[in-house]
Assembly symmetry: C2
């Protein structure tokens, strides 16, 4: 193969289709959940769960495609997202050759509850992920997304995208515990968070519990690299 063989030839070089698939996490009540679609009637294997996703439309930007797909497949208007990996497999989708750009996304449970369309999307307890039937390689993508989420939780302030605007330290700790599936020491956790100077006290109180708890919010909106745990 010489350099000349690489001369662009739009026909042999095109790929048939490009898709976006989104792994959406949320923490609802005290557990980590995943938002999954189910295959519709006219598809084979209709009972299987599948990541929200679709083929992209040319002429729109990636952002526009993402937002359309997100809204169409879940009802949700906005999530925090990061690109995860681009999968490529001629045999991946039996219907056609698809390259899939995957994202993982975080949504706080209040934002999620406002917008989600539960006729379109199912909320699945992450701890039951191995018990359900997931279409093709989407389970692999989910596990990869979870790894990335774990890492980002430990080393960045990304947790703010799962928490509501104002939250108690106990709530924040519970988010870490449910996602990382560990128990954390309350005093050490609070010391660590305090030392990072990433929160500000709102001086509001959460009175829903017995003893009212101080409500905090993030003092900074950028994604920061900070060793949290």
């Amino acid at each position: 193969m010489t350099s000349n063989n690489l001369t662009p030839d739009i026909f042999s070089l095109s790929i048939p289709a490009l898709a976006i698939d989104i792994v959406i996490f949320t923490v609802y009540k005290w557990s980590l959940y995943l938002l999954l679609n189910q295959r519709t009637e006219d598809w084979p294997e209709k009972w299987k769960y599948i990541l929200p996703g679709w083929i992209v439309r040319s002429g729109l930007s990636l952002e526009e495609n993402f937002d359309n797909i997100l809204q169409n497949r879940t009802g949700i208007k906005w999530v925090y997202k990061e690109q995860l990996y681009t999968f490529w497999d001629v045999n991946r989708d039996p219907r056609w050759h698809v390259v899939s750009v995957t994202y993982y996304a975080l949504v706080s449970s209040d934002l999620f509850m406002q917008n989600v369309d539960l006729t379109k999307v199912h909320i699945i307890d992450y701890s039951r992920i191995d018990e359900i039937s997931i279409w093709y390689d989407h389970e692999k993508i989910i596990k990869y997304a979870k790894q990335r989420l774990d890492w980002k939780l430990e080393y960045t302030n990304i947790v703010k995208n799962i928490l509501p605007q104002e939250f108690t330290l106990s709530r924040m700790q519970a988010v870490y515990e449910s996602i990382l599936d560990t128990k954390l020491d309350k005093r050490n956790f609070r010391k660590k968070i305090a030392s990072l100077n990433i929160l500000k006290d709102t001086w509001n109180l959460d009175k829903s519990t017995n003893r009212p708890a101080a409500l905090y919010s993030f003092s900074d909106n950028e994604l920061k690299i900070v060793g949290i745990l």
Copy 2:
């Protein structure tokens, strides 16, 4: 937009072209280098440096496309690679709408010297990267790849892909120092590496220096997550 609007329509959904671009790092003598192509005569801005890359051909797997492009653009037959990011920009390549899947790659200087075709590829001292003229957004991609490389060096045993099969600890330390652009303490470095149990003594000696130095190799071929620095 309703669900019906998402019904696949292969014509409006196709994208024109998909490319692979590769950021290749090597450590040559005592510095970090980058392997870049230069735009050829018939292209505009022909003097600018550009990442080795090309449009993918359908019908081949991603691996095959990667290997073809790597070999065509650099002469090199094999590199260690990891996917970096997928860029999407209708205005990215003025010739057509391109989605680019980028990789970063590492190659040891001996493997590199065996195979590289220096008529195709230029080797650029990374510390001079800001002095040269780089095409379109490839500089951004390079900086992003360097960040990823720095991180991977600190937290994994990825350095083995830049080192020859057998190497001295001083050589290994020099690779860290040149890529991360820091000075490391010799004793602390050796203690840390020893504590990680990732090397084995080959009982061979490097006699090219005055006092012969012990030669080590990695005891394990998998990529491991280990806090190295």
